[in-house]
């Protein structure tokens, strides 16, 4: 098969690479060639090595096939030789034909195993890779996820992995059999005539030189093509995902115009890349035939001088032909291998990111069930971006079972407090303690198990409502799930859905409103039953009447646990035990509603703002 494909175009197969990171556009154009080809290849190989059994079986099978392929022609020749002008030597003819038949059947059978093994090798290798990558992604710190292009991450998982898989299943075979054939024919060539071998090798060197020049060109265009394609895909994704906004502003024409322009650029680069790639084969053909003519010329000359026999030249020419073919093939695989290596590099770049780590966490001391829920923030400093502190000397003590509301202007750092408590981000300086234990000493898993969190942007998974509610507690009984849904006031709309709790939530989400999604997230937290509960604008899309209905449930939910509420709605926070007002990264006021009103400070102003209409 590899043989038939040797003229197939060099991959116009252009994996939609997304540019790394974001930053100002254009900056990523500087990303050129793979940085560490050997290192990356080694790692890909080590992944293949995880299936040693199949890997070596594949090699063995290929070795056999190469030998059989070398043997079959001579057998064929012998069979034909029995047919002479003076008649046919049927006895020998039949004998050779039978041997030939056996060899053929055997080699076909082995070819099946070659196909099967290489499929298996590529699939299992890629499976392990995907798994490792996914496990990495799940353990990446939130900081990484927040600051990286999601589409790019996705594309590593799909396109880059796919490229490696293609490379393993298609290139490895021809690479290996190519190398074997080269070694074999080189040996035979040296045996026939060392001098001619030297000439032959000089053409090889020419080929290699030529290849490296060509690939430089190719790489330039292929890289550019990948970057353009990445940009184009980015545009598509943005416009399609934000389609509603595009339409509301009647921006379709602009989007199309920009798309056409990008598409046109891609086409131009694509044509160039394809010409470069497609020319490789024919041009290599020229080079190798130049080699042939050289050998014939020198061979003839040597023969005239009587240095070698004519039979030797004949044989030599045959083998040198066999010699240059796999080199062409390998050169043709080069682009594919290069794409795979580039993909591998992108995959390993993610894998080499640091996971969330539990440095000094000693498991033994912290038992989730025994947490009482005292939280203290001690002199916290934190910034997302260096030199732009979000929290500056933040101090806050929360007692077990308290209901704390955090208020403050947009961007004052409310959500940051949540990010730090759950260790989505790590503080720059200061300490956060739960029951007197520094949270850095608590394993993250345990820490987060004690904290239940309902976020403003509700995350639901494309699965049934039941599984979504039971997310934290998969073994929960249906009755538990239903009662959690009832508590969150979600039961009513769920039971009105045609499939009830077995309704599968869809991506487009037109089957649930934003508010309904929030109710599901609340139900999920109810069922999780954490010691510490964080509600980050958890009811912002729920109307206030529904909210009032779940108020009693919320009160029940917050009983016996420490709760942190971030909200704009005064109704949500008014009966908190303590209201904490954050401004400019510090706690500026704290106390209950009445106390704070009496103070006539920040909170009073906030309050007045909302009720300005009523108060006057």
């Amino acid at each position: 098969m590899a043989k038939n494909q040797k003229r197939q175009s060099i991959p116009s197969n252009n994996p939609p690479l997304r540019p790394m990171g974001r930053g100002p556009r254009g900056a990523m154009l500087s990303r050129e060639k793979p940085k560490d080809i050997l290192g990356t290849l080694k790692r890909i190989l080590s992944y293949m090595g995880k299936n040693k059994y199949i890997f070596f079986m594949l090699l063995a099978v290929m070795l056999t096939i190469t030998i059989l392929n070398l043997a079959a022609p001579s057998l064929q020749q012998k069979a034909i030789d029995t047919i002479g002008f003076n008649g046919v030597d049927y006895k020998n003819l039949i004998k050779y034909l039978i041997i030939l038949g056996v060899v053929y059947i055997f080699s076909s059978g082995i070819t099946y195993f070659q196909g099967w093994f290489s499929a298996k090798l590529s699939q299992t290798t890629v499976k392990i890779m995907r798994n490792d990558l996914f496990r990495k992604i799940v353990t990446l710190p939130i900081k990484y996820i927040d600051t990286h292009n999601h589409g790019d991450l996705m594309s590593r998982m799909t396109n880059d992995v796919e490229n490696i898989s293609n490379c393993i299943s298609q290139s490895i075979g021809s690479l290996f059999s190519g190398v074997l054939t080269i070694i074999g024919s080189l040996a035979i060539m040296i045996y026939y005539s060392p001098i001619l071998t030297l000439i032959s090798i000089s053409t090889i060197i020419l080929t290699l030189l030529f290849t490296s020049v060509m690939t430089k060109f190719m790489r330039k265009y292929f890289t550019r093509q990948q970057i353009l394609l990445g940009d184009l895909n980015g545009h598509i994704e943005e416009m399609v995902v934000g389609y509603k906004t595009v339409v509301s502003y009647s921006k379709e024409k602009d989007a199309i115009e920009k798309f056409n322009e990008m598409s046109d650029n891609l086409k131009k680069t694509g044509v160039k890349a394809q010409i470069c790639g497609g020319s490789m084969g024919p041009l290599m053909n020229i080079v190798s035939n130049v080699g042939f003519v050289l050998i014939a010329g020198f061979g003839g000359y040597f023969a005239l001088k009587g240095l070698i026999s004519i039979g030797t030249i004949q044989a030599f020419i045959l083998y040198s032909k066999q010699f240059s073919r796999p080199i062409n093939e390998i050169a043709n695989q080069y682009a594919q291998i290069q794409t795979a290596v580039a993909g591998g590099e992108r995959i390993f770049a993610v894998m080499d990111e640091e996971s969330e780590r539990d440095d000094n966490s000693n498991d033994s001391e912290f038992v989730t069930d025994e947490v009482s829920g005292n939280i203290s923030f001690k002199n916290i400093n934190f910034s997302y971006v260096p030199d732009k502190p979000v929290l500056k000397g933040f101090n806050l003590d929360i007692k077990s079972g308290q209901k704390i509301a955090i208020v403050g202007a947009t961007g004052s750092g409310k959500t940051t407090v949540v990010n730090l408590l759950t260790r989505f981000y790590d503080i720059d300086s200061g300490e956060i303690e739960i029951d007197g234990v520094n949270i850095k000493d608590i394993p993250k898993g345990k820490l987060r198990e004690t904290i239940g969190i309902v976020l403003q942007d509700t995350v639901l998974f494309s699965d049934t409502i039941r599984t979504n509610i039971a997310y934290a507690k998969p073994q929960a009984e249906l009755s538990e799930i239903e009662s959690a849904a009832k508590t969150a006031n979600a039961d009513r709309f769920i039971s009105r859905l045609p499939e009830g709790y077995d309704t599968i939530l869809s991506e487009s989400g037109s089957n649930l409103s934003q508010g309904q999604r929030q109710l599901l997230a609340i139900a999920r937290a109810v069922l999780a039953d954490p010691k510490i509960l964080i509600l980050d604008e958890a009811t912002s899309s729920v109307d206030t009447r529904t909210e009032m209905n779940i108020q009693s449930a919320m009160v029940a939910l917050m009983k016996n646990r420490t709760s942190l509420i971030i909200a704009h709605r005064l109704s949500t926070i008014i009966d908190a035990d303590k209201i904490v007002v954050i401004d400019d990264g510090r706690v500026v006021e704290q106390g209950n509603h009445e106390e704070l009103l009496d103070k006539k400070g920040c909170y009073y102003n906030l309050y007045q703002n909302q009720f300005a209409g009523i108060a006057t």
Partner: protein
């Protein structure tokens, strides 16, 4: 294969590709002869002159062939890249014209794949077909002709072998094709698990479900691998089968050849030639089997593209283009609406309401009562099932859709920002806006206060859909964007929910001062956000349940009082 028309503009290249391919093939076929000549007549005979002479000939010929090869690569590149560009552009244009009903149905993820992967698939196929199909067909047919011309008896072998090969090929490909599409589905599943985990990383971590998610992924992953292996197992039978038959026919050719030679009807050299030809023919068949696999993959992609490309837009633009009259009235006349493809009760039932020019109109109601659905009908994001929606007294269905949407500024519930600078994002509302206008809009939207604090200000780059901005900041930027559009009707779809109260009231004041004449329709949860509006409509289960000013509603509407109490009562108590 309706997509073939996209090749039409490139017909010259489409034609030149196989032609230059033929050139290359001819050289390829001729070359062994020259080679034989060099060996047989040159080297063997020790004729140095002939070697050099023929060598130069051969070099020239090879260069010509190489040129043809480069040419065919270039032509096919031009044809297939042009083809895919046009196809891509048309498909994207189509997608940009879909109604939400249709994008909901396709799902955004699938639209993105169709525009990217599927088009690349088809392009590769075109490129491959142009170059290989012709080449292999020539080799295949040429091989058959040559073989028959050698000896008609070899035809017997062909008659036996070809049908068998074909049948095997068809059986195996038939078996494999459906599994290929299953593979695609399994791949989708893997992708969606990754997507959900990347987007929902916070929740996964908060609930410490990394293990669970990894298992979920494992399952999808193993599933994908197994399906892949299943199809590959079937496919890997094909090649050995074809090879066996091919090799057996080589044996029978030697045998037949033997008889023929003995009968004096053939020479040994012809047997050799026949073997070469039959090898060529059968290689052609194998190539065709590769083609079939590619076709079935490309066909699936082409189908997915065609589904988008040839879909009839559900929402058709009307022809009415209004003058620049800024009226700004909206009337709902007895409308009912249900999301397409859903069953159950309609979201909006028999609703009628008139919104006056310049009015400050608010819509209040419980979660799921149909507020957002109602306003989605104004710019025709969806069409009503019954009744009519009138803007400035004209049915929205009669409007030229761009003209209609130009009148309306809509701030969506989910603020979507695009990669670009702050000012680029705001100027979505009006491309030609000057910096002053942009800053003014930002000031009204209360966005100036944080934008001016950003290091690069209005030229600051918004990364990854505004991930670096807080929810309230994103909302304010999208409000600024709508204000800059200077619409007749400005709609807030619960789009001040992430603003703190102070900011919201400042926004309200700025709107009152700067945009007095335009009609404002506001969906909100907070009474405080709407109580100063001219009229407030209260929705309940998709019907209008009360309408009036804040004071009137307090007196007349139980529902409104309920809502009011839910938000205000405790605070009044607090003030006592």
């Amino acid at each position: 294969m309706k997509l073939i028309k996209y090749l039409k503009p490139y017909w010259i290249f489409t034609l030149l590709t196989p032609l230059s391919m033929v050139g290359e093939v001819l050289v390829d076929l001729f070359q062994p002869k020259l080679m034989a000549k060099i060996v047989d007549e040159g080297v063997v005979a020790g004729n140095m002159e002939l070697i050099i002479h023929t060598g130069i000939m051969m070099m020239l010929l090879i260069c010509l062939g190489g040129l043809c090869g480069v040419g065919s690569a270039a032509f096919s590149g031009m044809a297939s890249q042009g083809f895919s560009r046009d196809l891509r552009n048309d498909t994207f244009k189509k997608v940009m014209g879909l109604s939400f009903e249709q994008t909901d149905k396709f799902t955004t993820g699938s639209l993105v794949t169709r525009l990217t992967n599927d088009i690349t698939q088809v392009q590769q196929f075109v490129d491959f077909a142009l170059r290989m199909l012709v080449r292999d067909t020539i080799l295949f047919i040429g091989g058959i002709i040559m073989m028959l011309s050698l000896d008609i008896n070899f035809g017997l072998v062909l008659v036996c072998v070809l049908p068998i090969e074909m049948i095997f090929m068809i059986i195996i490909i038939r078996k494999a094709t459906p599994i290929f599409s299953i593979v695609q589905k399994k791949l989708d599943k893997v992708n969606s698990v990754v997507q959900e985990n990347v987007a929902g990383a916070r929740v996964v971590k908060a609930f410490v479900r990394e293990e669970h998610e990894s298992e979920r992924f494992d399952k999808a992953n193993v599933d994908l691998m197994q399906t892949n292996l299943k199809v590959m197992r079937i496919m890997s039978v094909l090649n050995p089968l074809l090879m066996i038959i091919m090799n057996l026919s080589v044996i029978s050719i030697i045998l037949i050849g033997g008889f023929q030679v003995e009968a004096g009807e053939m020479q040994v050299g012809q047997i050799m030639a026949a073997i070469t030809y039959i090898t060529q023919i059968l290689l052609g068949i194998m190539m065709i089997s590769v083609m079939f696999q590619l076709i079935s993959r490309a066909h699936a992609s082409a189908k997915r593209i065609s589904e988008v490309l040839f879909i009839e837009p559900v929402i058709k633009s009307g022809s009415y283009v209004s003058e620049d009259n800024k009226i700004g009235t909206v009337s709902f006349k007895n409308i009912s609406f249900k999301y397409p493809g859903t069953n159950g009760d309609p979201v909006i039932k028999n609703l009628s309401v008139d919104i006056k020019s310049g009015e400050n109109f608010a819509i209040l109601g419980a979660t799921g009562s149909g507020k957002s659905s109602l306003i989605n009908l104004i710019p025709r994001f969806y069409d009503v099932d019954e009744g009519e929606v009138l803007v400035d007294g004209v049915n929205v269905k009669d409007y030229d859709i761009d003209c209609l949407r130009k009148k309306i500024g809509m701030v969506l519930q989910k603020s979507e920002l695009f990669s670009g600078t702050v000012s680029e994002n705001i100027s979505w509302g009006d491309n030609n806006a000057s910096r002053e206008e942009i800053e003014k809009a930002a000031k009204i939207a209360q966005a100036d206060e944080f934008v001016s604090l950003m290091p690069a200000g209005y030229d600051g780059y918004i990364a990854e859909k505004g991930a670096s901005l807080s929810g309230g900041q994103k909302q304010r930027l999208s409000i600024a964007r709508s204000i800059l559009k200077k619409p007749e009707i400005l709609i807030f779809d619960d789009s001040t929910s992430a603003l703190d109260l102070g900011t919201e009231s400042r926004l309200q004041r700025a709107l009152d001062e700067n945009l007095k004449d335009i009609t404002v329709i506001k969906i909100a949860q907070r009474i405080a956000s709407v109580m100063n509006c001219d009229r407030i409509a209260v929705l309940e289960h998709g019907s209008l349940c009360a309408i009036g000013t804040h004071e009137e509603l307090l007196k007349t509407s139980d529902v409104y009082r309920d809502i009011y109490n839910s938000q205000m009562k405790s605070s009044e108590e607090g003030e006592k």
